[in-house]
Structure formats: structure tokens, C-alpha cells
């Protein structure tokens, strides 16, 4: 990837960091969401999966996506940045899709997911986070180029 130039060195220290400045806040919020979504779905799936299988599976999926994004942000470098970009876009689609779905067809969700009602139960962080992250990750690339 000639565009990025300097950060393509294979050695660890050569990786461009994604967690400087505002990035650290993103990592923190994603970390909180990982713990929230993973532990929540783990409890729900292990104790009462039959009650709302769809909702609990979606929460677990959300947890996995959050985990991967957090890992990518911490790892840094161009490939991780792109992977995180793709995941954040998927996350945004997920939040909007599941959010609309829970409003349109509440009967499919006997219990809430992390992404229900666009993440209202989590102070709308689930819908604000991917937007912020997409902005940050795109800006990171712009900064690399200049």
C-alpha cells in the first residue's frame, strides 16, 4: 500500500497508533460495550436462551463485533484501521437495522438486545459510537497521507 508509506513496516513499533488522542476515548467506550454486550449475552444465553433466542444471539454478535473493533484499534496500523472501518460500518448497519426491526416488530423480541431501539438502554452510545469511530478512522487516514 504505497499510499500510506511510513506505517507499513512489518516491525511492531512501526505500526501507526490508532489510540492516540480521541482514539483512547473510543477504545474505552468500545471496551465498556464489549464487557456490557458479552457479559449480558453470556448470562442470558446460559440461563434462559429459550425466552428470546433472536435477541440474545444478536447481543452476542454485537459483543463479537465490539471485541474485534477494540482489538483492531489497540493493534493499530493500516490493515487494522481498514478492518475496524469495515466493522464500524457493519456495526452502524446493525444498530440501525436491529433498532428499526425492534420498533417495527416488537413481538420478535420478547427481551431487549443491546441494539434495541437504537441502543436507547445504553444512552444511545451504540448508535453514536460507530459514527464517531468512522469519522475518527477516516481522519486517521487523512492524517497519514499529509
Amino acid at each position: 500500500m504505497a499510499v500510506t508509506g511510513t506505517d507499513e513496516a512489518p516491525a511492531e513499533p512501526g505500526r501507526r497508533k490508532l489510540i492516540t488522542g480521541p482514539g483512547i476515548l473510543l477504545v474505552w467506550l468500545y471496551g465498556v460495550m464489549v464487557v456490557g454486550a458479552v457479559s449480558r449475552s453470556a448470562v442470558q444465553i446460559s440461563t434462559d436462551f429459550g425466552r428470546a433466542p433472536l435477541a440474545y444471539t444478536l447481543s452476542a454478535l454485537a459483543g463479537l463485533v465490539y471485541g474485534f473493533i477494540t482489538y483492531s484499534l489497540v493493534r493499530g496500523g493500516e490493515r487494522a484501521r481498514r478492518a475496524a472501518l469495515v466493522c464500524c460500518a457493519a456495526e452502524l448497519v446493525g444498530v440501525l437495522g436491529v433498532g428499526a426491526w425492534t420498533l417495527a416488530e416488537p413481538s420478535a423480541f420478547p427481551d431487549a438486545t443491546v441494539w434495541s431501539d437504537f441502543g436507547m438502554g445504553y444512552l444511545f452510545i451504540p448508535v453514536l459510537l460507530p459514527v464517531t469511530a468512522l469519522y475518527w478512522l477516516r481522519r486517521s487516514r487523512a492524517a497519514t497521507r499529509s
Binding site: 492516540t20 476515548l25 474505552w28
Partner: protein, 119 residues
């Protein structure tokens, strides 16, 4: 659950959030005084963890389940120190913003703890 302790922890967490938010507003990283503040808030969360476990051991039951209750107790204890360590790695205003966010998250966890215990 001691309601007074839950309220005290929430208020302390929000105060910490405001304080670190102010530091961020003034473009400052977290300093020693902030870390002492984090220590105080963490101590409150630790006391709450101990009190919660003692109450469970006495046979009192949280309304929404023991597992969830303990998970939230541990989470609320780990919350501020985790943010504190991240602010050590990021010595700019953004480290302060992270601790402020940690304080807000802790306050939310306290409200949830109160719900889980059943008022």
C-alpha cells in the same frame, strides 16, 4: 444494598467526571490530584463490592439474580481504575475525557445496581 452508599458512589463518580471534564476543557491531562480522586471513588466502589458480597453471604437475594448483581459489582469496581490506567497512557486532554467518561459509566452502573437489587 446500602442505598446511602450507592448514592454516595454515584455522586462521587459524577463529581470525578465533572472534575476531569473540566481538566479536559482546560486542555490538561489527568494529574496526581485526579488520581487521588479516582482512588477515593474506587475505594467507595470497593466498599460497595464488599458490602454487596457480605449481604449475599447473609442470604439476602437481589431481585434480578445473584450473577448479574455480582457482575455489576465487579464491573463498577473495575470501571474507574481501568479508565485511570488509560489516562496514564494518554497524557493529553483526551486522557481526562476518558476518565470523565469512566465516571459517567460508573454512575450509570450504580443506578443499574440499585435496580438489580430491587430498590
Amino acid at each position: 444494598m446500602l442505598v446511602a452508599l450507592t448514592v454516595a458512589t454515584s455522586v462521587a463518580a459524577l463529581a470525578l467526571a465533572a472534575w476531569c471534564g473540566f481538566a479536559a476543557y482546560r486542555d490538561q491531562p489527568t494529574k496526581d490530584w485526579h488520581f487521588i480522586g479516582m482512588g477515593v471513588v474506587t475505594l467507595l466502589a470497593l466498599v460497595q463490592l464488599v458490602v454487596g458480597v457480605v449481604q449475599l453471604a447473609r442470604g439476602e437475594d437481589p431481585e434480578q439474580g445473584t450473577t448479574i448483581f455480582v457482575a455489576y459489582l465487579i464491573g463498577s469496581f473495575a470501571c474507574v481504575p481501568a479508565a485511570g490506567f488509560m489516562s496514564l497512557a494518554e497524557r493529553t486532554r483526551w486522557g481526562s475525557v476518558t476518565v470523565a467518561a469512566g465516571g459517567v459509566v460508573l454512575a450509570v452502573l450504580e443506578v443499574r445496581l440499585y435496580d438489580i437489587w430491587g430498590g
